[in-house]
Symmetry: C2
Subunit: 189 residues, 2 copies
């Protein structure tokens, strides 16, 4: 058991999310998991009377984002990114296959977003995937290759840090869902 302030200083975004997801599962609030990294197995030993040992394998590029699950009847799908930048989020933190996955999930009426942390500012936001895709596509037409922090603050949703869960992102999801229910569209135009 550690004091939260100390623990948080060293906690990565991923470990905060994993702990939060565990908290949500335990408390029955949502069922969301990080997907395992896909591995291409090449050589596996099966020793007698003990567990199989992977002896040669390679990392494969995932086809999807890292996190998905179900929350009050909604399909949630997201990826988490940290940036050291102070005033904007560089779009190159995302890969094309992740953006394409978001497009597909949005077409199926999934709730899709990025969790973006400005590490040096100690600020974390939920940013809707539809807006991320808009910025992504605009690059090809000469628009900027990053999203200003001010834009993220205006169109995104603050995610509070807490004792438990460490990153209470369902609070931001609720706020985002409320804007969708009020008539805001989360579909890609």
């Amino acid at each position: 058991s550690t004091t939260p302030s100390t623990a948080k200083r060293g906690m990565t975004l991923e470990s905060e999310l994993n702990q939060s997801n565990q908290y949500y599962v335990t408390t029955g609030q949502a069922v969301i998991y990080k997907k395992p990294t896909p591995i291409q197995l090449v050589k596996v030993d099966y020793p007698k009377r003990s567990a199989a040992v992977v002896k040669e394998a390679y990392f494969r590029r995932p086809s999807t984002t890292d996190y998905n699950g179900v929350y009050r009847g909604k399909y949630l799908d997201f990826d988490a990114k940290e940036t050291q930048h102070l005033t904007s989020f560089p779009l190159k933190n995302f890969h094309k296959h992740q953006i394409d996955h978001f497009r597909r999930c949005l077409k199926q009426a999934g709730i899709c977003f990025a969790i973006i942390r400005f590490t040096k500012l100690h600020q974390t936001y939920l940013y809707p995937a539809a807006l991320l895709i808009k910025a992504w596509d605009a690059q090809a037409n000469g628009a900027r290759k990053s999203i200003p922090l001010s834009t993220i603050q205006q169109d995104g949703f603050v995610i509070p840090n807490r004792l438990a869960p460490p990153l209470d992102y369902l609070v931001a999801v609720d706020q985002y869902l409320a804007t969708i229910n009020l008539g805001g569209s989360h579909e890609v135009k």
Copy 2:
């Protein structure tokens, strides 16, 4: 030391599902993937100018079922099982953690089911998780440790084999969803 062989005579249920999911993604009908097997990495080499090589790793037991995704705004969650039996499906094909995962997803109003193949009969069914859980829990009270094929035929939904997709399970999902919309409950009592 052996190479893990997926080479079985004919197509396995898993490969049919993977091909069907690929078909659904490509045609824009749904976004559903099999989760990668979780691996505990122990030793990874990072050679210069080439890809990282996993040198020692172990398989971990998954916390969830194998498949999930989004279909027309619904969260879908399922696992796939094959049996050589002719007249019933042994419940021991499922693990407790998979049943518990179904319970949690159902509480979040996810659409949860098993895909059960009677290999020797060349028959495949969608069987709702709520009914599977009911049979699972009844075991503890002395009930039978398998589900009769006749019960699966009565309460489940036939999954047709086709050219493309090889296993068109969304047809069965649609039928299942229709019964839910007609007032049938998919919640665990």
